[in-house]
Structures are given as structure tokens and as C-alpha cells.
């Protein structure tokens, strides 16, 4: 019973862990990640299309990551090359993903609400393992590699990074693309787990992942713990949904309400990377 519960928690945590790991990388490079939701949704749609076209879940994993990266590329070009407002662009990327995935569904399958059933994994879902590895991997990347050092330098002080010969724009684009790939995998997990893509299936999970990044104070392991916390809330929600007399609408609010409480709770202790949202100097 307990083991099953933990397994369920880990499975629910998978998309949060993957997306939040991506969010940490982009935000540590100074790019606000409010577009994780859009990357995730694009990834989920691309994964369903890939798995459908090749009748193979692994192909779906690949196309899912690429779908997230495609959305991230638009964000990177707009914010890094053209210095567009990061928050505005991030919000628009999410709207774009909603519209574009509906458009794609309509054109490909004649329905704007869901795809046909696609291939999944016969036994378990290997993306769960990837989810568990994502946070430690990102921690290593940021703390122990040359690229991670550049990411931190660019995120804390882009002007100083430039003077040290670091290509700020390139580092930021790479970080955003990586976050897109990770969030795309989060979306691929959702689509392959449910064997189909449904309209707006991410249901705010990308934003909850952003909240986990803030709540975890931009430090990978704390962010991972925050993801598990939000996943626990969702697990509780699922159990209450089936076993209690509480109206379903109230139960459905639990993860969203917890997110707000978590955000309000970290005031003053949550210090973002100094260059976050400032753009290239």
C-alpha cells in the first residue's frame, strides 16, 4: 500500500521534476521561465504526433523533446536576440502553444480536443527514471561544469560575464533550449502516459513547475523537494477525488491553492538570480 502510494507520487512528480529542472537552468541563466507550460504542451502534442506516426513511444519521446525545444527557440530568439520583455513573451508562448496544438490536432485528426490513441510503453514508463535523474543532473551541470559556470555568471551579472569573454547570448540560448527539451519531455510523459494528447492537457503544471523553482529558491535539490511536495498534493487530490464526499471542484483546487500558499510563504527568503529578467546588458 505504502509502496504503491510512493510509486504513484513519483509518477505524478515526473512532469514537475523534468519541467522544473529545465526552469532552473533557464532562470539561472537569467531568462524568466513562465513559458514552461507552453514548452510542455508543445512537447506533449509533438510526442503524441511522433508516437502516432511511428507507432513507437520512443519516437514520441524524441519528438516531444524537439517540440519543447521548438517552442523554446521562439522564446530564445524573441528575448535574447530582440530583447523582448521576457514575461510578456513567456505568456504569449503559452497562448501560442494552446492555439498551435489545437490547430495541429484539427488539421491532422479533425478534432481540436484530442488525438487518437497512440503507442505507449508496455511496461512502466522510462521517463519516470529520467525525471528522477533530471534534478541531480541539472545540479551537476550547474555546479560542476564549464557550461554551468557560464550559466551562473550570465544569470548573476551579464555585463561582468561579457567582460570575461563569455558569449552571453549563446549561453542564454543554450540554457533556454535545454529547458525546452526538458519541459518537452515532461509533456511527452503526460501524452505517452495517457496514450493520447488532449487539449490543454498540461492544466497549469508548467506554472506549478515555475512556482517550484521559486519555492526551491533556484537551487536544484530544493526545487526537487518542492516538486515532490506539489506532487504529493496532486496525489492527495486524486485520492480525495475518488474516496470522499467533497465536491470534485474543491478537490481539484488543492494543487493550485497549495502553489499560491507556497509562493506567499517564501517571501524575503527567495532571492532570484541577480540578472533574472534584465536581458543582455
Amino acid at each position: 500500500m505504502m509502496g504503491q502510494l510512493i510509486l504513484q507520487l513519483v509518477r505524478i512528480a515526473t512532469p514537475y521534476l523534468l519541467a522544473a529542472a529545465g526552469g532552473v537552468v533557464a532562470e539561472r541563466a537569467g531568462i524568466v521561465s513562465l513559458s514552461l507550460e507552453g514548452y510542455m504542451l508543445s512537447g506533449a502534442c509533438a510526442a503524441a504526433f511522433g508516437a502516432y506516426a511511428g507507432d513507437n513511444a520512443w519516437l514520441g519521446v524524441l519528438t516531444g523533446a524537439l517540440g519543447g525545444m521548438a517552442a523554446a527557440a521562439i522564446h530564445a530568439i524573441a528575448t535574447v536576440r530582440y530583447r523582448a520583455d521576457q514575461v510578456v513573451t513567456g505568456i504569449a508562448i503559452n497562448l501560442l502553444a494552446v492555439g498551435a496544438t489545437r490547430f495541429a490536432l484539427r488539421v491532422a485528426f479533425g478534432s481540436s480536443s484530442n488525438s487518437p490513441r497512440v503507442a505507449g510503453f508496455a511496461f512502466g514508463n522510462p521517463l519516470v527514471v529520467l525525471g528522477l535523474l533530471a534534478i541531480p543532473a541539472v545540479a551537476l551541470l550547474i555546479d560542476r561544469t564549464r557550461f554551468g559556470l557560464r550559466v551562473r555568471a550570465v544569470g548573476e551579472n551579464p555585463a561582468a560575464a561579457t567582460s570575461l569573454g563569455i558569449d552571453v547570448a549563446r549561453t542564454q540560448v543554450a540554457a533556454v533550449l535545454l529547458s525546452g527539451a526538458l519541459a518537452g519531455l515532461a509533456g511527452a510523459y503526460l501524452a505517452l502516459d495517457q496514450h493520447q494528447f488532449t487539449d490543454e492537457m498540461t492544466a497549469g503544471r508548467g506554472f506549478i513547475a515555475v512556482a517550484a523553482v521559486i519555492f526551491g529558491r533556484w537551487s536544484p535539490h530544493r526545487v526537487g523537494v518542492a516538486c515532490l511536495l506539489f506532487a504529493a498534493a496532486e496525489t492527495l487530490q486524486i485520492h480525495l477525488q475518488t474516496s470522499s464526499g467533497i465536491p470534485s471542484q474543491f478537490v481539484a483546487m488543492i494543487p493550485y491553492a497549495l502553489t499560491i500558499i507556497a509562493l506567499a510563504g517564501v517571501v524575503g527568503r527567495s532571492v532570484p538570480p541577480a540578472g533574472l529578467g534584465k536581458g543582455v546588458g
Partner: protein
């Protein structure tokens, strides 16, 4: 003149980019852009019904666009206009349903507009307070509140207030406003939208609280040094923003259906973000942008038989990104050119 060029040029570029993207999508599904855009115009401005439908949609978008713009003047992103609009419509619908027929129409209209404003303001005040008190990121709190508030309203209607077999409340018996054209949804709340646009523009640019709002948006630390309480201004701005979005609910409840219906907002809160940005925060710009996005939205229905109407959702998002990207670029290029 310079200021007008600075404001309009990025929007013109963004529209051009959005049209190119639209063309690409049309061609991708094997249709001809000329034919599709003709269909779009035929379904909107070509006849009285289409025009009235555009005006109806533009009315709601003017409210949500103004709501987003007011918050933006204070440096705040209100992504919650969707649920604020719904809460305003809900408040107007529930109060309206309880008003007896004996209440004179004019009195009822005023009461319902106030109810809608209060409904939206209540929802808007929450992220304002969370930000003022705890510094919670308003983008995320407003989005989470969208989920929470829409679920609450769904529960209230589905479990308690609905007419059997529907997801809407009982119809108003007083306090409705006339439509412009029989069969089309446009109604007298369009004038209310214009009035709110004018008053909001005046308040932001010509009054002391408006100046405080812009100061907080432009340089919060400097505003704080000048004795302005940024926390109070942000709370007030969010409350006002919510109230304006909430009044948008009267368009549906007082003017169109005469009852509150679950999920009537239908994304107008999110398109309000595009309206505010394309309208450059200026009331005239916002009304024009609302008309443009309403045309796209209504036109989407007209083209749906040949190109999926989701094409316009994509174009709306492209406009936001392109405006955001073109604004600093145009400013930079113009600055160089003028030197």
C-alpha cells in the same frame, strides 16, 4: 509625432508578421490566403449582423484589455482577467436574478454594474494582496486563481444556482440593456466600455493616483523614496484591474443572454493581454486593438469551414510576441537613425 511613430510602428510590424504566419498556416492546409481573408471579412464587417457580432466581442475585449493595461501601467501582469471577468458576470447574474421586477430598469442596471465591478475586484484584490503583503509572483498567482475561481463558479452554478438541465442561472427580469441589431449580440454596454476607456485613460495620465501608479510601474524604488507606498498602489491597481474586467461581464449578462452561464468568458481574459499590448496602454489604441482582435475572433468562425479557426489563436499569440520583440528593436533603430 515621434511618440506616435514609436508606439505604432512595432504594432504595424507585428501585424505584418502575424499576417505572414496566417498566410503560412492557410497555405499549409492547402487553401488560398486571398479567399480565406475574403471569407473572414464577409463574416464580419461586410454586413450588419457580422459588424454587430464584432462590436459585441470588442466590448468584452475592451474591458479585459483595459484591465490588463491598468495593471501593466503599475508594472504588474494581470493574467487573471479571465476569472475576474467570470466573477463579475457571476455577481451580476446572481444579483440580477434576485432583483424583483419592481426595481426600475435604470436602477437595476447601475446596481448590476456595481455588482460586476465588486465581483471582479474581489478576485483581483487577492493577487494584489498576496503581492503587496508577501511579494508572491503575480503571474503565477493570477493563473492559479483562474483555475480556483473558475472551479468555484462552476461548483456554485452546477450544484446550486442552475436552471435544471443547463449550466446557467435564471434570467434577469429587470436591468437588461437593449441590443443594437436584432439577432446579434452587440448591446448598449458597448457605450459603457467606451466610457470606462475614456475615464481610465484620463485617470492614468491626468490624476495624482494615476501618476503614483505609473511611478510604481516605471521605478518602484524611486516611487518608494518619493513617499509612495508601492504595496498600497499595487493592491489598489490589482483591485481596480479586477473591477474593470468584472464589469466586462455585464456585456454577456445584461446585454446578451440575460443570465450567467458557466465559462461564458471563453478566453476573452487572455486575449485582453494581446489587446493591452497592441493597444500600447492608450485608451484609443485599446479600443482599436479590441476591434481588431474581435474581428479575428468572429472571423475565425466564418473561415472555420476551410481553415481551422484556431488559426486566429495562433495569430493573436504571434502579435503579442512580435510586439514585444519589435518594441525594443524599433526603439533602438529609431534612436540610431535620429542621431
Amino acid at each position: 509625432m515621434r511618440r506616435i511613430i514609436d508606439a505604432v510602428l512595432p504594432v504595424a510590424i507585428a501585424v505584418a508578421i502575424a499576417l505572414v504566419v496566417g498566410d503560412a498556416l492557410i497555405i499549409a492546409v492547402g487553401q488560398s490566403p486571398g479567399v480565406v481573408y475574403r471569407l473572414l471579412l464577409d463574416g464580419t464587417w461586410a454586413n450588419a449582423y457580422g459588424t454587430a457580432q464584432v462590436i459585441y466581442k470588442a466590448t468584452t475585449l475592451t474591458f479585459t484589455g483595459l484591465a490588463v493595461a491598468v495593471a501593466l501601467e503599475g508594472g504588474l501582469f494581470n493574467i487573471g482577467a479571465e476569472s475576474q471577468l467570470a466573477a463579475g458576470g457571476f455577481a451580476a447574474g446572481v444579483v440580477g436574478m434576485l432583483l424583483p421586477a419592481a426595481v426600475p430598469g435604470a436602477v437595476a442596471v447601475v446596481m448590476l454594474v456595481i455588482a460586476a465591478a465588486l465581483g471582479g475586484a474581489m478576485v483581483g484584490a487577492v493577487p494584489g494582496a498576496l503581492m503587496a503583503r508577501y511579494g508572491a509572483n503575480e503571474v503565477i498567482t493570477t493563473i492559479m486563481l483562474n483555475f480556483i475561481v473558475l472551479a468555484l463558479l462552476n461548483w456554485a452554478v452546477a450544484a446550486h444556482l442552475h436552471v435544471p438541465e443547463t449550466l446557467h442561472t435564471r434570467a434577469l427580469v429587470t436591468g437588461t440593456v437593449p441590443r443594437f441589431y436584432p439577432g446579434a449580440a452587440a448591446n448598449a454596454t458597448a457605450f459603457l466600455a467606451l466610457g470606462v476607456a475614456i475615464v481610465t485613460g484620463w485617470a492614468i495620465y491626468w490624476t495624482r493616483p494615476g501618476m503614483a501608479l505609473r511611478a510604481v510601474g516605471f521605478a518602484p524604488e524611486a516611487a518608494e523614496c518619493a513617499g509612495i507606498s508601492t504595496a498600497r498602489v499595487r493592491l489598489a491597481a490589482f483591485t481596480l484591474s479586477g473591477a474593470i474586467a468584472g464589469v466586462g461581464g455585464t456585456n454577456f449578462v445584461l446585454g446578451y443572454k440575460h443570465y450567467y452561464e458557466d465559462s461564458f468568458a471563453g478566453g476573452a481574459g487572455f486575449i485582453g493581454i494581446a489587446v493591452a499590448l497592441a493597444g500600447r496602454g492608450h485608451p484609443v489604441g485599446i479600443v482599436l486593438a479590441a476591434l481588431a482582435f474581435a474581428t479575428l475572433s468572429q472571423g475565425g468562425l466564418a473561415i472555420h469551414a476551410v481553415v481551422p479557426k484556431q488559426m486566429v489563436e495562433v495569430m493573436q499569440a504571434v502579435v503579442i510576441i512580435a510586439v514585444a520583440a519589435a518594441t525594443p528593436e524599433v526603439r533602438r533603430i529609431l534612436r540610431q537613425a535620429r542621431r
